[in-house]
Symmetry: C2
Subunit: 343 residues, 2 copies
């Protein structure tokens, strides 16, 4: 239909046929995340979700948005795109669960330089896997082609999620008491934070070599998906075994734990209880990074902290739901967060 | 605290101080979008919103995500960033209102090459203005710095919104009847779609000249904010004067109207009733774009269509709520969307 001489949308670099193929490829991935509440698949203007009302006296919606940051560059270097979707979901749903909320649904935004349906399918397959793990439905999203603005093989991912919690059961600073224990939940590696520093360190290293990591390459270790703590945390909450949760993201423990401590209350964390995954040692050695810089940039082995009335009981319950955990500190009246063992 | 020789997060291009300054600058903008339901400002891990339950028998949450696309490049060229936030909100909330849902809250994601707090404040001021216009609260967001991946002055915006509608009052294809009228609601220009084509056309043109646009420069016309139709559409719905709504975005009328027509039902749209804003004429002339390509890429003067039981009554109600509208077509049994007057 277009004039042979005139400009067309396709010639400007936007491929509506590829967009249609992409939508078709994504359908089975979306379908396997279906759960109670989902009213329709993708395709409408908005995603529809029936609000659960039973059992809620004062339902509060908890929402979060996040990206994966420059971990995507590692994926691009290794040309493996099926796990960054798990990272994306983890970053969002574990910001939601810290309020004690159950994630209900998720939407994704994928920006690409040039739309390659197979590539987007890989990415969304990871997102769907993350949604299954967290128990939420993928109910919508947007794939945007930005020709001329992004290089053809570059992409960005953004996720949005919504959860629900009854107001009377919300977790947070208001529940924290002096004498509470702090438990650490083991991370799988860097998760999705600190990659700008990590990338500056590994820029000249061979990602296909192990650099002393023994069972994995440096690339594998850097691309390892973020652990999703949603189900274990909801289990703790259902047993009334947790007062507050701290998602250890950018800024490390020091940058995040204070966000769930009430005014005047502090915490001391004994870093000798941590066994950071080996990848942190490689990064510190190769980048000659100071200890303090490591701890305020990375999770150093614990991607989620729980402030709990009984540390041993929490460790037991977390172990039963498949997460290695340990008592790493205690709440005190110091008013600040102190890492014991760090100069 | 960092080792003078070792790598640091700041040296890797991530500026936590600028991030803190940004959060402070955004607070007043966030505050002016506050509405019933908001539980906290930004700063927590997740945004909190008390679910409205009164008056809802079967509340359905309607969510959408979108970006502004390459319209951002026009903003970058003109170095004016205070209106693209309005575009962002418009793209999202008007995907929500097509279900008849009232937008409740909004979250934004801003990715930047290098974090400039004043720039992000300009962008978020626009987002807040859009949220005020749509009646929803800005309750969270993320500003991500992607050094080395995006050029310093490049950025991307993604928005996410959630609304609510009672299941029994949802709008959509299930309400559409043969004999319904189609009304068109006037657009302000391109809104946020078709910019890859538009940019390919204007690449060699002077955006500071008027190119026959008389009262505005080409740059002003291309950057003009998207009209937000949320309140007028909710007003139509409250008067039971609308069966379905069609947000005219990428793909134009042909690409979108079919999404809200039931199986076997079609519509005929008389394009002679349209008076496209002058900017479309400039683009068509300079790009020698075929008519059909124009209509399947741009909104051509109507950013929202309503499928209504009484066209004249809908036009009157829309006029009363400040939107120019006209009867542009009718629903029929053709099974397809036909643009009358287009070869």
């Amino acid at each position: 239909m277009s004039n042979g001489e005139g400009r067309t949308y396709a010639a400007a670099g936007v491929h509506l046929d590829a967009a249609e193929e992409t939508v078709e490829r994504l359908k089975p991935h979306v379908a396997r995340t279906a759960r109670r509440g989902v009213l329709e698949g993708i395709g409408g203007f908005g995603g529809l979700f029936e609000m659960p009302t039973k059992g809620f006296k004062h339902p509060v919606l908890v929402s979060a948005t996040d990206g994966v940051g420059t971990k995507l560059e590692i994926a691009r270097q290794l040309n493996r795109h099926d796990t960054v979707g798990v990272d994306l979901v983890a970053m969002v749903v574990d910001d939601i669960v810290v309020s004690g909320a159950e994630p209900l649904f998720f939407l994704d935004y994928v920006a690409v330089g040039r739309l390659d349906p197979a590539h987007v399918e890989q990415v969304v397959a990871g997102i769907a896997a993350g949604c299954e793990e967290a128990g939420c439905a993928l109910i919508g999203g947007e794939t945007a082609e930005h020709p001329g603005v992004m290089p053809a093989d570059q992409y960005d991912l953004v996720g949005f999620g919504v959860g629900v919690v009854d107001r009377g059961r919300m977790l947070g600073a208001h529940r924290v008491e002096l004498g509470d224990d702090v438990v650490a939940m083991a991370s799988t590696g860097l998760h999705s934070n600190g990659y700008s520093l990590a990338r500056s360190i590994v820029a000249d290293l061979d990602l296909d070599a192990d650099h002393g990591l023994k069972v994995q390459t440096l690339g594998d270790a850097l691309l390892r998906p973020t652990r999703i703590y949603t189900r274990p945390c909801l289990y703790l909450a259902s047993r009334r075994a947790v007062h507050a949760l701290c998602h250890v993201t950018g800024g490390g423990i020091e940058g995040n734990l204070g966000r769930v401590l009430p005014e005047g209350v502090g915490a001391v964390i004994d870093i000798s209880t941590f066994t950071p995954p080996d990848v942190f040692g490689v990064l510190q050695r190769e980048g000659r990074v100071a200890d303090a810089e490591m701890w305020r940039t990375f999770n150093m082995g614990a991607g989620m902290l729980g402030i709990v009335p009984d540390g041993q009981e929490a460790v037991r319950l977390l172990g039963a739901s498949g997460v290695d955990a340990w008592v790493c500190g205690a709440v005190d009246d110091s008013g600040g967060v102190r890492l014991l063992g760090l100069d």
